[in-house]
Structure formats: structure tokens, C-alpha cells
Symmetry: C2
Subunit: 258 residues, 2 copies
DNA sequence: TAAATGTTGTTATAGCAACAACAACAGGTG
DNA sequence: CACCTGTTGTTGTTGCTATAACAACATTTA
């Protein structure tokens, strides 16, 4: 009739992350394939050991995911998937909300007792994390954004964000190449790193990664160039920011002259 | 400084249902209490064994819930709770959506191959489950709702639902007592079960539970009267429905005469 | 009727994987 | 050396997974 193995292999995993056990998932899936079934039928349909079917059905009934008939032998039926997922996510969502309340309470308590922002330098691993953080930075920028970076850094999402905020904040970008439209309000300089002059030697390698300065307050430096092991540093530390603003100044001066 | 035990005892449980382990939760909570911390500080702050702190921090970093400083020794900081909960729920929500798609696919395949609705009688255990199912039934009613039931069954939620749909569908209710306002469009009969006439003897006990008929198609019978072990039967089976519509008719005839 | 057979639902228990907790050790620093 | 960091490996515990065995009951067969 219905082959038990023609469902996505990850499906059980998905359901597990929603709070079900492997057996609960298998039994529920099996019950969806029929109008109703006895424990033994469920055992055959799901592959779950017959003896394990009973406690699992109890658990599913506790979660209101199956209903039980009055007949003997008992017959079981699954509630529609939409309802089931709703019930599961509702429970998790409730937990999430309560957790959020408690956590923000703890967090606020600390934030209140805090004077200046940290003097630390943070790591961001991987190009994905870098892009994500960069997106956050761009979103929260208030006065100006200045970026020197390899084109690889500019994902579609980041280009979109830059376009959106180019009206409100000053945007200046130096990169080897740029695909797609460029807003008029955005200052874009295209420069190959290979044509850097002698006096800036050593800085060239860095163009493979990049520097991003936000509001003259926050700096993100991309130091790993290869796609696989890209690493970025981020800091709001005064000295750190001052150094890279100086570095940025060097580059941008030369770019403007050329 | 901050006592580690002044957070809700269920908080760890909530976070666990969001896919974190106990240690991950403890470490994250601890990190919220400070700007940043070394592994040893986290160990003291969270109570997690020092050696376990390192792998746990790795996991948290994989989930983008903490950032790592470049300094030696490394320092760790938590991302804001709102962001963290967002990330966790987003991942689960994605799984939920994918699971839903797969499950509905399986379900539809079965529904399509199915002729009539089931001829089975289903159990609902406990007053809470009964009320929930009753609420669903009322919500999906299209033409009429008829209920004989003890007042205990009518929770505030159910009264609200009845009020809301009293305009679109015919609503008729027989119950010993009713608190709160009664919509004009709703037919409400107040009858004590004790004054039932001789010819309906034996039906009296049932008033302690109740009968609910929806659209002349679905019937729910509440057979256990006590709060603790209330049990309801539900069926769309033709014979079952016919029997209880007849039973309902007996009662309602007598009620109208009185 | 009595014995044999099969099914349902329950209980006990062994196996297993992930997590939790601890001990030990190399490297670095004052 | 004494101390701290970061890593590794071992052990204990827990909860899910899996199998076996059993009592209760109905059905079949001699």
C-alpha cells in the first residue's frame, strides 16, 4: 500500500526538534497514512516495536496529537498535521516567550549596572557570520558607513541594505569590482588591489579582506581572505578604531588622487 | 554580586525545549549577567564544570549565541536575549514549516484515497480535553448547535465562542444554571435535572454530563460526571448520531412543555 | 468440553547514545 | 615553583530504544 520509507529522512529530525521522540514521530507519521489503526497495525506501519507502541501512544495522547476510540481493541487516529504542528509550536512558543522575559530581566539588570561599552576585540568566524554581522552594523548605522572590502563580502542582502540606507547616512565603498546598480547617493570607488602604490605596500593584502567603519565608532576588520577560513575582528575600543580610521584614511587618500 | 540561583527554576527547561542542553542554558544565562567573561569565570558563574565549559562554548558559538574575543585568555560574551531567542525559534520554526509540508503531503495522499468519514467512536479524557474539543466543534459549526450539559462544561472561553456564533448558527442550550449575559439570538433553557419527569427516568444522570449535537452530523456525549474522570464520546457515525438526536428530542420536548 | 492457537495490553529489562561530572595533563606566565 | 588556561580522556547518569516474557481474553480445533 504505502511504502513506509518514502518520506523525507530528515522529517523525524525536524519533529524531534519540535519536542517529539523518534518513536513519537514514527507513530504519528504512520497514523497519518491511515484513517485509524490498532496498536498492532501501528507497529507494522511504523516499524516501532509493538510493546513500545503503547507508551508512545500514551505520550502522544497527552500531547493531544492522537485520539483514541472506545472500541476493543482500541483504535487510534492522528489529528491533522496542521493542528499537530500548531500545538507543538504553540507550546514551544510559549516557552520561548517566558524564557525571553526571564532572560531580558537578567540582561537588563546587568545593562543598568554598566557604564561604558567593552574595550574588547571580538572574533567573527566564517564568511556567513561576517556578512550577518556586517548587515547588523549597516542597519544600525546612524551617520556614516565606510567600507574597504573584497567584492566577495558584498552579498545581495548587504547591497540591498546599503542601497536602502544610502539616503540617510553617508556611504563610501572601495572595492575591486561591483555588480548591479549603484545608487547615486553612494560613493563607490573601484580599485584593483594590484595597482596599489609602493608606499602602501603591505596594505594590499588586506584588501583581500577588508575594513568597515561605522559612525567613526565601530570597526570591523576582515583578516582572513580565503572563503573557508575568513575571520573578522570587531571592536569599539577607542585605540582600535583610531588605528583603522588612520589606515582607512591612507587608502582613501590614495584612491581619491588616482 | 548576582546570586546565580535567583532565576526561575523552569528557565533552563524552557531553553532546553528550544534546543539547548542544560549546560548551554546555564552558560548562556551566566554570560548575560556580565559584559564578558573567561572560561573560568563562566565556570564559577554558572556552576558548570570548568572542563565542560569549553565544548559548551563551542556549541554556543556554532549557534551564534556568543561571541569570542581575540585576547588571551579568550573572553566570551552573550548576544542579547531577544536575538538569541529569535535565532533559536527561527531554526525551530523553519523545521516546523518543513515538517508541516512533508506531513500534509503524507496526509493529503491518504485523504484523497478515502471515501466516507470514519464510523468510529472516539474518547476524550478529562474536562480540559472535553472543553477544548467542544470549542473546536463550536468554532466549525455551520448550521446549528444543540447542547444539553452541566453548567461546569461551559467555561468562559466556550461561552464566548457561543456568543460569537449565535448570530450565524442556531444555538440551543439546556443546562441547570448559567452565569453571565445571554445573547438574544441564543435559545437558553434552565432546568434542574432533579425535576425530570418519571418517563425520562434514567436520562437524569446524563444531565450531569451532557450531549452536544453539531449540524445534525456530529455528536459529543459526556458520560463521566465527576470533574476528575470526565470522559466524552465523539462520533460522526450515522447510527450514533441518530440515537442521540432522538435522546435529545425527548429531553427538549419535555423542556419546551414545561 | 478441553486443548491449542492467536491477539491485546502490560511489565521488566538489557542496550545505547547523549549529556553530565570529574580527573589528569601539557603549555604558559608571573 | 605556583598558578591559570585550554585540552583530553574516563566515568556516571539519564532517557530513549529495543527485546523478551507474561497474563488476559477470544478464537479455533480436536
Amino acid at each position: 500500500m504505502t511504502r513506509p520509507s518514502d518520506n523525507p529522512p530528515q522529517l523525524v529530525g525536524w519533529l524531534k526538534s519540535l519536542g517529539m521522540t523518534k518513536y513519537e514521530a514514527l507513530v504519528y507519521i504512520a497514523l497519518l497514512k491511515v484513517t485509524s489503526a490498532t496498536a498492532s497495525e501501528i507497529h507494522e506501519l511504523s516499524g516501532v516495536p509493538r510493546a513500545s507502541v503503547y507508551p508512545v501512544l500514551d505520550q502522544l495522547r497527552d500531547k493531544d496529537l492522537v485520539s483514541v476510540s472506545q472500541s476493543a481493541p482500541k483504535r487510534f487516529a492522528a489529528i491533522p498535521p496542521a493542528d499537530a504542528i500548531d500545538k507543538l509550536t504553540a507550546r514551544i512558543g510559549k516557552n520561548a516567550q517566558q524564557a525571553l522575559e526571564s532572560l531580558t530581566l537578567i540582561h537588563r539588570e546587568r545593562i543598568a549596572a554598566e557604564e561604558g561599552s567593552g574595550e574588547l576585540i571580538w572574533n567573527i568566524y566564517g564568511i556567513a557570520g561576517i556578512r550577518k554581522r556586517l548587515a547588523e552594523l549597516i542597519t544600525h548605522a546612524t551617520t556614516d558607513i565606510r567600507i574597504i572590502a573584497h567584492s566577495r563580502v558584498f552579498s545581495e542582502e548587504i547591497k540591498d541594505l546599503l542601497k536602502q540606507c544610502a539616503d540617510q547616512v553617508s556611504v563610501e565603498i572601495i572595492t575591486p569590482s561591483w555588480e548591479g546598480p549603484v545608487p547615486a547617493t553612494m560613493n563607490l570607488y573601484l580599485k584593483k588591489p594590484s595597482v596599489l602604490p609602493k608606499e602602501l605596500e603591505g596594505c594590499g593584502d588586506m584588501l583581500a579582506g577588508g575594513v568597515c567603519i561605522i559612525d567613526n565608532k565601530k570597526v570591523m576588520v576582515i583578516v582572513g581572505s580565503a572563503e573557508e577560513d575568513a575571520v573578522a575582528l570587531f571592536s569599539e575600543s577607542e585605540g582600535f578604531v583610531r588605528f583603522f580610521m588612520r589606515y582607512y584614511g591612507l587608502i582613501v587618500d590614495w584612491v581619491r588622487k588616482a
